[in-house]
Structures are given as structure tokens and as C-alpha cells.
């Protein structure tokens, strides 16, 4: 090892233990997150995934002194935030003064009821959208961690994640109202504004369903193929697989040449896409 390599290693060695947060840093974020995830949170399930439908789709989020455990009975999707309607987050300001004193949030049990009948009325089983996203807004820079957020318009445009979630919610709501083209338009907007966003997986699945809703089956198949390739282990895989992309065309309808050609091109690939699903190592 020459001098430069020795010096380089010494520098790296000195830095490896640097940049750690202080106890205050840890507590400050803990309090903000405790406020974000616990107090006054209410998660309502607009729609449940098919697997959860009919069950006592109930998700409890127990928050005690920020010991957030997801206690799931039924639809886990709600617990991870893919289900549920709106998260109303209020109050719970971080304690002033000694930031190392953590005020424990009171235990909160959030029940996500089974889907309301009207939530799925008008939407076929095939089109039942990915459940609404809870809107969890990243905090403002000054550290006021959380605030109530119910609509997209209430979300500042700079809040990337929140805006993504809001757009996805609106797309899903449009789909629930059989406005598939509107849903696609919102998903396009989401893709344009957040090309590398956090909700890409959910948006990709929603696009499959929206294309089905728009009766654009060939495109839905292509989109489904892309989804399965990009997110092979997704919890939404089953939802996508139950969509029109994987269903036979109604037998009373003679497949047109385009549909037939597409099925010939894509059908096989959908069945044998194992290699295509491998993205990266």
C-alpha cells in the first residue's frame, strides 16, 4: 500500500464514525414522526383490495410512545398506507424546550372498516381501484412536522410525496367514478411531475386498471407486463393479475385483428415473462 492509499484509508477511517445524529436529533425526528403517525390519525378505507373484501378488514395501528406497531387483521394494505382514505393529522406539536424529553403519544387504535357499499358502487370488481392513499404530508422545513391534509388542493406543490399521493388518490377516485380517461390523465400528470417518485409502483398498477376501465385492453396488457417486470414482488401483483390484462375477451365478442395480434404478441410473453421481470441483479 503506497502513501496515498494509506492516507486515503486513514481519512475514510476517521470519517466512518462521523455524521452520526445526536440524541437531540433522534428525539426531534421521533417527536415529529410520533405526531405524524399517531395522534388523531384516522384512516378510512375507501375501498379494499379484493382479498380483504368481505373480511373484517380492520387495521389497527397501535401507537404508544412512538412504538408504532402495525397490528393487522385483514387488509394489511391499509396499514402500509396503500389503503385507507385520508389521514387527518392534527395538533401534536413537538414539545418545546428540552427536545430530549419525548412526550409519548397516547395509544391510538385506528380501525379501518370494511369498504362502504357506496365506495364500490358503479365500479366493477375489475375496476375496484387500488385503495385510496392516506395523505401523509412531509413536514415544512421549520420542523412543524405534520398538519391536517385532506385534499390535493390543500397540499403545497413543493411537497413531493404528498402531491404524488394526492394525484394518485384523485386518479383512483376518477376510476371509481368510471372516469377512466380522467384517471389516465391524472396518472400522466403524476408521471410527468414525479418521474422518479415514491408512488411509481402504485401508479403503475393503477394505470393497468385505468386502461382496463377505458377498454384499452391491449395497452393494459402492455402496462401489466411492464408492471410485473418492474415490480416482481409487489403486493399489488395479484390485483394486476386479476385485471382485464389477464382475462380472456368475452366469448360473445369476436376478437378483432388488432386485439388478436396483440394477444399473439403479448399473451405468450405474459405467461413466460420470467426473464423479463428481472430488473437489475
Amino acid at each position: 500500500m503506497n502513501d496515498t492509499e494509506t492516507r486515503a484509508e486513514a481519512l475514510l477511517d476517521a470519517v466512518r464514525s462521523a455524521h452520526d445524529p445526536t440524541a437531540d436529533d433522534r428525539d426531534r425526528v421521533r417527536v415529529a414522526l410520533g405526531a405524524a403517525l399517531g395522534p388523531a390519525a384516522s384512516i378510512g378505507a375507501g375501498t379494499a383490495l379484493p382479498e380483504a373484501a368481505g373480511s373484517a378488514a380492520e387495521v389497527s395501528i397501535g401507537v404508544k410512545a412512538f412504538s408504532t406497531k402495525l397490528i393487522v387483521g385483514g387488509s394489511l394494505i391499509g396499514a402500509i398506507g396503500v389503503g385507507g382514505g385520508v389521514v387527518a393529522l392534527t395538533g401534536a406539536q413537538p414539545p418545546a424546550g428540552n427536545s430530549s424529553t419525548v412526550h409519548a403519544a397516547q395509544p391510538v387504535a385506528v380501525a379501518v372498516p370494511a369498504p362502504k357499499p357506496e365506495a364500490v358502487t358503479g365500479a366493477s370488481h375489475e375496476l375496484s381501484p387500488i385503495p385510496d392513499e392516506p395523505v401523509v404530508e412531509p413536514p415544512e422545513p421549520q420542523g412543524a412536522a405534520v398538519r391536517a391534509t385532506a385534499t390535493a388542493s390543500a397540499i403545497p406543490s413543493h411537497s413531493g410525496l404528498a402531491e404524488e399521493i394526492a394525484l394518485l388518490r384523485r386518479a383512483q377516485q376518477a376510476l371509481g367514478k368510471s372516469q377512466a380517461e380522467r384517471s389516465l390523465s391524472l396518472l400522466d400528470e403524476m408521471a410527468e411531475r414525479h418521474p422518479n417518485g415514491q408512488m411509481g409502483e402504485e401508479a403503475a398498477a393503477a394505470r393497468v386498471l385505468a386502461l382496463c376501465g377505458a377498454e384499452r385492453r391491449a395497452e393494459a396488457r402492455a402496462q401489466a407486463r411492464r408492471f410485473l417486470s418492474a415490480y416482481p414482488g409487489s403486493v399489488l401483483t395479484q390485483r394486476v393479475r386479476s385485471s382485464c390484462a389477464f382475462q380472456q375477451a368475452p366469448s360473445k365478442v369476436q376478437p378483432g385483428p388488432t386485439d388478436s395480434a396483440v394477444r399473439g404478441q403479448l399473451g405468450g410473453r405474459l405467461e413466460t415473462d420470467g426473464t423479463e421481470r428481472k430488473v437489475g441483479p
Partner: protein, 192 residues
């Protein structure tokens, strides 16, 4: 049934055990936060998130963790999985800053330390030097360099964390190391 196990069951996949022996069935948010908060914070600081913004970006990371907790299936180490989320949050932060017309500040160097033990001064200088070097790398190379050289993660772990091919990790690491050695050599010659 623990949530991750329920998730795995619903998703039609078995609960898995990661390289650290953590089963997806055992993973819960409290444990993730307690065990990996420092890693997330450190990574964001090293990637270049300023002190002014780090609380927010860290919080954003853990909000995503809550949302995606059930997706974790043990195929990657928890740290790899977490860094993937952390890195995407960092890139989102960069984009937002650019949209606002701002720019990410260079990593903040430590304040000039008070005269004290020699080791303390030397360490502060090392931190300052490495931070300045990291700021010269593009984000992709910076992430690989941080994970490999500072967090000492393996190339396969980094590959999973960043969602890139193993060869890409190696090539970025080679480039990062070469640049670092060049910077060190310049410093030794008093040219930095």
C-alpha cells in the same frame, strides 16, 4: 400474526429472512427506527442534505418506511432496503430544491474546532476533506462510494439498495475510488 408475515401471506409469498437474520415477519417500525435511524441520518448527511433540511428528509424517509414496511420481504438486507428509500427521498429532495430555484449547498464542513486534542483536529480535517470530496461526485457515484467505503456494505448489497447491476456498482466504485485517491494525492502535494 406479525404484519410482515400477514403481508407476505397476502402477497402470496413466504416470509423471508435477510442476511442479518431479520425475518420480514419480525420487522416492525419501532425496530427499524431504533436500529437504523443513525444509518438513514448519516446517509442523508453524506449524500449532501443540509442540516436545515435533514429533519424533514429523514422524516419523509420514515413515513415511506411505514407505508412500505409490509413490502419488505427479506430478500435484501434491511439496510439495503432502507437505503433505496433513503436515496429516492434524497433525489426527490434535490428535485424539489431545484424546482424552487435553489440548489443543494455543498456539504457543510464542521466548524473550525477549538484548539484541542490532536486527534480531534485531525478527525475534523478528515471529515471536512471527505465531505468536500463527496460533493464533487455525482449522486450515483456518491451513493456507491458512501455505502462501500463508509458503510462498508458489499457490492451485492449496494446493487440491491440502488437497484442497479452489480457491474454498475463496481464501475462506479472504481471511478469513485480513483477520484478519491487523486484528491488525496493532490492534498499530499499541498494542491488541494
Amino acid at each position: 400474526m406479525p404484519p410482515a408475515e400477514v403481508a407476505a401471506a397476502l402477497a402470496g409469498r413466504p416470509a423471508r429472512v435477510d442476511s442479518a437474520g431479520v425475518s420480514s415477519a419480525e420487522l416492525d417500525f419501532q425496530a427499524v427506527y431504533e436500529q437504523h435511524f443513525d444509518f438513514v441520518w448519516r446517509s442523508l448527511r453524506r449524500l449532501g442534505v443540509s442540516r436545515a433540511a435533514i429533519d424533514d428528509v429523514t422524516q419523509e424517509v420514515f413515513i415511506v418506511v411505514v407505508r412500505r414496511l409490509a413490502d419488505y420481504d427479506g430478500r435484501a438486507s434491511v439496510r439495503s432496503w432502507l437505503f433505496g428509500i433513503t436515496y429516492r427521498s434524497f433525489l426527490g429532495h434535490v428535485r424539489r430544491e431545484r424546482r424552487r430555484g435553489g440548489h443543494l449547498p455543498l456539504p457543510e464542513t464542521l466548524p473550525c474546532p477549538e484548539p484541542g486534542p490532536f486527534d480531534q483536529v485531525r478527525r475534523a480535517e478528515a471529515v471536512r476533506f471527505v465531505e468536500a470530496f463527496l460533493a464533487t461526485l455525482d449522486a450515483d457515484k456518491r451513493a456507491v462510494f458512501i455505502l462501500a467505503e463508509l458503510e462498508q456494505m458489499t457490492a451485492p448489497e449496494i446493487s440491491v439498495a440502488l437497484g442497479v447491476k452489480l457491474n454498475t456498482v463496481y464501475s462506479r466504485l472504481r471511478a469513485g475510488r480513483a477520484a478519491f485517491h487523486q484528491a488525496v494525492a493532490l492534498e499530499q502535494r499541498g494542491e488541494s
